[in-house]
Symmetry: C2
Subunit: 129 residues, 2 copies
């Protein structure tokens, strides 16, 4: 699979992956992929990441049902970061964050501290059963 | 500076940073910051990264003049990825990539290979003098 060899995997065999919502342009999350995760993502059209905390492949939505449909896979100039254009399924608007928020980037820097500026759309207790 | 202590810096003291163009929503690039880079970025409102290849702070645009004006700094749920909303100055449309392209994510996966799908807006030879 030469297209997988084109990537510069880091010392852990991973690359960071940005998931951007196709319709809104919102950056939903950044996670990590290894070779297997990227290959499965390209093959099946649904995002599979490598969970560094759990040390295993993590099919986005495997517990929540909030699968990420992948429309496009991009690679950057240094071949060490991937960008996905996705539809975040399972809720409207899409919930990408484990806190029940639309995007993982819900904290904004304001005058020396981080302020939460995005609402919880659904209680995580009811998402992860 | 407690807001800098809120981040989970990796074993090299870095976090990945996504630069997203405010006006278009385009993801322009992903680079890295250390503490100093993030502090300077927040203080001056212009993006400063840590260059892993050169092992030093890298003020975006220091050679090209293509400075990134920073409108907003976001932090993700795990506190280990930063998202900047920026205006890419110095050219219209903005050129964030050292190849002279708008975005670093100019390669698209298509049926087993990476295809370049974005044009060079300006010859890099004329950007980096």
């Amino acid at each position: 699979m030469s297209w997988l060899d084109d990537l510069k995997w880091d010392r852990d065999g991973l690359v960071p992956v940005v998931a951007q919502e196709l319709a809104s342009g919102d950056v939903l999350m950044v996670a990590w992929m290894n070779r297997d995760a990227l290959e499965q993502t390209a093959t099946n059209g649904e995002a599979v990441y490598w969970s560094r905390s759990r040390g295993r492949l993590w099919r986005k939505g495997e517990t929540s049902g909030h699968v990420q449909k992948v429309h496009e896979i991009r690679l950057d100039c240094d071949a060490d970061v991937v960008l996905l254009k996705v539809t975040q399924t399972g809720h409207e608007p899409g919930i990408a964050c484990h806190t029940g928020r639309h995007s993982c980037f819900f904290q904004r820097y304001e005058a020396g501290s981080w302020r939460t500026v995005e609402p919880v759309l659904k209680d995580p207790e009811t998402i992860y059963r």
